[in-house]
Symmetry: C2
Subunit: 573 residues, 2 copies
Amino acid sequence: MSAIPESFLKKTAELSSEVTQPFPNSRKIYVQGSRPDIRVGMREIDQHPTSSSFGAEENPPIPVYDTSGPFTDPDVSINLLEGIPDVRLNWILERHDTEQLDGPTSEYGRERQDDPRLVHLRFAHLRAPRRAKAGKNVSQMHYARQGIITPEMEYVAIRENLKLQELRNDLRYAKLLRQHQGHAWGANLPEEITPEFVRSEVAAGRAIIPANINHPELEPMIIGRNFRVKINTNIGNSAVTSSIEEEVEKMAWSARWGGDTLMDLSTGKNIHETREWILRNAPMPIGTVPIYQALEKVNGKAEDLTWEIFRDTLIEQAEQGVDYFTIHAGVRLAYVPLTADRVTGIVSRGGSIMAKWCLAHHKENFLYTHFADICEIMKAYDVSFSLGDGLRPGSVADANDRAQFAELETLGELTKIAWEHDVQVMIEGPGHVPLHMVKENMDKELQDCFEAPFYTLGPLITDIAPGYDHITSGIGATNIGWYGCAMLCYVTPKEHLGLPNKEDVRVGIITYKIAAHGADLAKGWPGAQIRDNAMSKARFEFRWEDQFNLGLDPDRAREYHDETLPKDSAKVA
Amino acid sequence: MSAIPESFLKKTAELSSEVTQPFPNSRKIYVQGSRPDIRVGMREIDQHPTSSSFGAEENPPIPVYDTSGPFTDPDVSINLLEGIPDVRLNWILERHDTEQLDGPTSEYGRERQDDPRLVHLRFAHLRAPRRAKAGKNVSQMHYARQGIITPEMEYVAIRENLKLQELRNDLRYAKLLRQHQGHAWGANLPEEITPEFVRSEVAAGRAIIPANINHPELEPMIIGRNFRVKINTNIGNSAVTSSIEEEVEKMAWSARWGGDTLMDLSTGKNIHETREWILRNAPMPIGTVPIYQALEKVNGKAEDLTWEIFRDTLIEQAEQGVDYFTIHAGVRLAYVPLTADRVTGIVSRGGSIMAKWCLAHHKENFLYTHFADICEIMKAYDVSFSLGDGLRPGSVADANDRAQFAELETLGELTKIAWEHDVQVMIEGPGHVPLHMVKENMDKELQDCFEAPFYTLGPLITDIAPGYDHITSGIGATNIGWYGCAMLCYVTPKEHLGLPNKEDVRVGIITYKIAAHGADLAKGWPGAQIRDNAMSKARFEFRWEDQFNLGLDPDRAREYHDETLPKDSAKVA
């Protein structure tokens, strides 16, 4: 047992109560799959009936995609000290292609485990990691290519459908299901997402299901152009600020508001332990940038990085359960000089670490030269690649330049290698791009990276609004999501200025939920318009409570309403 | 003299101090035109030099478009009780085509002037209105079509150029002036805006300069697809809230943060007097929806409206100096049934007033039948039409439907009539439109309305985010601005929920400044990228103070920065 300090116990107890608070007038529901242990959580928002002045009718509940995992299930008792339930463990075990290890096999993992000074920080229920049996490949892509539909794939199919087939057979939804024809720019959006469709998309590399075998708590989700557009959130402590409980709190907060995946970008002390706490409580896939931790291990001196230290870090994190790694293997030595005339040089932290290493040794990037070795590790745990764009533009001035696109072409080359190993891949994208140059990024990515899912940071369409970069980037994000980007990495109002607090995380997420949903609507995702239609009907009928509850942020809507129109009577008019 | 209450005096004195506070490290500059009384205000943001670690160099000041009028000029003493200086009065007088009236010629204007109970509300320095001499047309379009370049046109040309020609001849700006080639969708963006270009665009109806002869305080600005994209802000009291000083404060606040034009949508008591206070202190064009006030005059009963009451209201407001009128003349009787199957019916307030009138009398809209009479009034004062979209969609479900487009086609027909009278016209547009259907709105408007400037409300690209509709609409606004929309009507976070306060006005404006600038960048407006480039260079060189100051909202940026990185040292790193 670990000796958790009192303050942490207190904080987690408070947190448990806050993040488990239900959304107003919403119910957690589960849709059962082909077997009892495939139970897909959704949220249903109940509505009030239409008043007689508008023709008295019932308004049916609206199902919405739910990233909050067990936190909003009143039947699950949440204790962050214990971690959340292992929904996937049995699926992993029954494949009989993994083995439980005696303990961490990374050097660093063992060090941390054996260090008595860390007892007070350590998650109480450490589990010995699993790994593929010798010669086995446990990636979802590998299964998919063998024609196997995993429970993860079926889970994802049910989740993406959001009960649409059932709603179509229910007359109460007939008018609510009316929807404009979309413009999908070549995306293939079937009327029903079948498990077989999921399999075929994963097999083709057009979608990924990030799901490390050491993260059995994860509720599977899919990232691909032919599925709902997703959003990623970032958290992370730094040397200056924040403690484990603050990061766990931000993770839970992200799950609550709608983050589909989460990157832990911590760079401070105890990031190994912080990550363990996050993973054991995270219903969403967790990503990291392993080079950040590797750099800590060499005291911040990029030139001291080695393949061995990096490799140990990959294994350390893979065995904790990280679901996707950002790896800047496309920052080739030859590309570094292409950034010389830029306004903002290299702004990606991972990119500048690798550029520094390349220049210091005048050698090719070791992530590039060891790429096949990395694939061997990825497939033993099913960690997905998020191929990092280390040369992404840091200003609209530098958008779509040769450095950026040279790296993108290399990411395509690496994608092919990863796919030879049946390792799942997504591609990271910019950054800062004026609106009219956004589409070129999407088109080029689809072509150069063979339709591997694109995952972009915004892009910001102008640089002149610090304090509002959730908006400058949300505009670019909506557009690139429409054009085919599979996942949008959120940006908070603090971007370029400081570290986001909980409120910034909320605003960043809601902005990106708007972007992702706006993209789904524009693409014509089947059923996407139902929530808009329900909201609009509630608005037309002055059902204020329903308007708040159907919104992305019911609390904020209610608060704004009550500021100027505080009378309860106005809400039921 | 009026007897202004003590509280008002106190409030306006405070306000004067707040709105005249200079922007950090900025200077008000004036660019002189062809004659001494053409002095175009701009703001120049001074920068710190680059530190030696980045190659020690001077960073030249960056000129930015300035809507704040005399408020930010330290040489002008602001007293809201007196009004701001009459920059245009001499230009109007020297044309010798207007005459000063003895007093208001509208019945209502005279009533209010003579009512002793209003003494305490009345602006102190009421001026007798001017009107065109019999047979004269005083619109900017009329002059333009006669080949006359007015001082207003020259002013606008200088303002749009923002010293670009001078900067191009100054080597310090060489790298800062680098810019991506834009994609202007057929807009014609010359490298230099000449007064003749302004004249020709106004003559062709592709741009308007809203500038009532009774609003000589106005600093001329232009609205047209071949100029910088502009933003409109809305304020207005209602029966429930707000006093004259609050509305004047919001107007000044709007000028400060960047509102190009402002609509006073007041519906409460004393809107005549409120409008007078606003106009006498407003450096930007002021618009209204006269039907709102006409409705007050018939105690809110739409069916009691008459042409005579409406006509008197137009004259009342034109003689106060309102620069553009929203007139819902396109809501034809035959179109009302087209809205029957909509999710949200008719959501435009003006639209529903006129629809109600049409149905009650089963007659054609009197604004449509009297359109030529309205033109006669407009040209006597140079009030511009903002042809209202009374049938705009109130939900994404209703976007681009037959009702909306039927009205748009009628607005085109009315545009032609207005142009026969040499009256300036812009066309109002939606509203709520999914992203992929935005462009159709712009294309259809250009075609049906013969390239008259388009002025849209957002559009919101989804309905599901009450509390964040500045963002849902800012996304649509950026896109439609890029496609060619000339002016974007801002939306605040309180849209659909309540009335905006001062802070909401600020957030709405900054969001729309982002949208307008993002559109300018995407279109490739010459010089648009200089501020982005300066910001990016400051960012790369860790010049924190310059980053704050170059941003759209320096105060917010500084505040966010100081929250997590409070050390002053970090700002000069």
